[in-house]
Symmetry: C2
Subunit: 305 residues, 2 copies
């Protein structure tokens, strides 16, 4: 028998029981709090309600385009109460991985070629990791015949680069993909902030970080080590930073294959799905569901009374 | 026992015997004739030799960035004897498919959104197929918040578009991928000129047409109908145009999964691999080889005496 997911919308006693189980809520952002720049209904009030009950709210997002500081501006603009320290993004998770895990005692931190936006760069910089690529205007142009030659013979490559880090890049182009491909062909580590295939925006779906970097996966036949949800590298980093009690922590998200799996594989006390993003009820009622949330509500705004 | 592939380099009697079996040679271009803009050794002489023996040489390429006319300029510049009619590209194959196969008696030719270069556009135009996208300068820019809204609500979309055709696009960007994704989400047919994962250039490898369009495959979980090699839609079109006797025709190429498979699945009399491109001898000596060529030479230049 498939696991059942308890539906809490409109169920005051159920919500009370749910709240009593947890001290900390890890909340995904895109598709849970907002879609693009549109706040979803009742979200602000639900966050305020959780905080008024003494719950800690931590925002755990795979979106790598913004740093924590930039994210915090968005929260402030949308009047969602939080501090920059309450935000944990996949860019930050990736920067910590490169800086603290890859920088073994016997080796320097590798220089990173970034396919991504300023958010990745800011977090790498904050962790003292050298990088190239990213938002460099010199790469925002068409590829030339000379580029093909200089990439092929390596003269356009930086010999210090030891890793390629892919995030969501709204300025992806052939030159950047070709450059990343050459580093990977020469043995660079292949890392990704996250592998979400789609990005919820404006009430629809657009290519996500996992899709933008997929030309490299297809060309090279190698998958990146993903450092966002559901990677437990991210859970370990969240736990290390916030010293949370996993049994008293609940993950709230819209995606079964990232958010809900992240919570289940991380051994959290619970998971709650919202239906305002990528996945719907039928997705976890299938026999081959990516994960089944313990609880669900129509939208985060329902999580109050 | 694995099939053996006969090695002809330096074997004059073997080459004579090989030549006697065939009237027509279908030749791949990238990795066989040239790498990027560099002609491979002895290629011109080998083509002249084949033609001097009364053989028909037809150039069958998956590269979709150039139309037959543009390709012909490259042949002329490199002094390889051929006419535009001797060239058969995946752009042409795709245009024929949209124009003649999709345009059933009961339906109009669908308008096509193109992810690709001028080669695709020229061939669609020559077949009377309407299209948008492609090299349109209006799409060579960054995506804006308004674009997300207008793509999501459909106001930026052309309701006549019924198919998305992906080729190799050196000007790929997020706006084009996002636009293509929205047409596909609304039910447009998903076509590809070809699905080569890599492009041999400057003696190395770069992202190919199949990789550039892969963000859409990953995001939508749908694969395109590929109209280049090894698709037999292309073989049917080649046969229809040149009225060739398949038993007396040989496919020459560097890739097992496109060229050699194309020849074998098309029931041609023979296949010959060259080692100047993607695949090497060990690739077909593996138990799970994509295809085994009947013959091979180090390079096309060896096919003369």
């Amino acid at each position: 028998m498939a696991q059942a997911s308890r539906y809490l919308t409109g169920d005051k006693a159920g919500i009370q029981e749910f709240l009593d189980k947890f001290d900390v809520f890890l909340l995904d952002c895109d598709g849970v709090l907002w879609s693009g720049d549109r706040l979803l209904p009742g979200v602000r009030e639900a966050i305020e309600f959780l905080q008024s009950k003494g719950k800690r709210t931590i925002f755990v997002t795979n979106n790598s385009t913004k740093s924590r500081q930039e994210y915090h501006k968005k929260f402030t603009r949308l009047s969602i109460p939080c501090t920059p320290d309450d935000i944990f993004g996949s860019s930050y998770s990736a920067a910590i991985y490169v800086s603290r895990i890859l920088a073994l005692p016997t080796s320097d931190k590798p220089k990173v070629f970034v396919l991504g936006e300023a958010g990745v760069e800011d977090e790498l910089r904050a962790e003292g990791v050298s990088f190239i690529g990213g938002t460099d205007p010199a790469l925002r142009r068409d590829i030339t015949p000379e580029d093909f030659d200089n990439l092929a013979d390596g003269s356009a490559l930086d010999p210090e680069v030891g890793a390629v880090l892919c995030g969501l890049d709204f300025h992806v182009n052939y030159l950047k993909l070709a450059t990343a491909a050459q580093y990977l062909r020469r043995g660079a580590l292949f890392l990704a902030t996250n592998t979400d295939s789609s990005l919820p925006m404006s009430g629809s779906f657009f290519p996500g970080a996992g899709s933008v970097g997929f030309p490299l996966v297809n060309m090279l036949g190698r998958k990146p080590l993903a450092l966002g949800k559901p990677s437990q590298a991210m859970m370990d980093a969240v736990e290390g930073k916030f010293h949370l009690d996993r049994a008293r922590t609940c993950m709230i998200g819209d995606r079964l294959d990232t958010d809900i799996r992240f919570g289940i594989e991380g051994g959290l006390g619970g998971t709650l799905a919202v239906l305002t993003g990528v996945n719907k009820r039928e997705d976890w009622e299938k026999p081959d569901a990516a994960a089944v949330p313990a609880y669900h509500v129509d939208g985060l705004g329902d999580l109050k009374f």
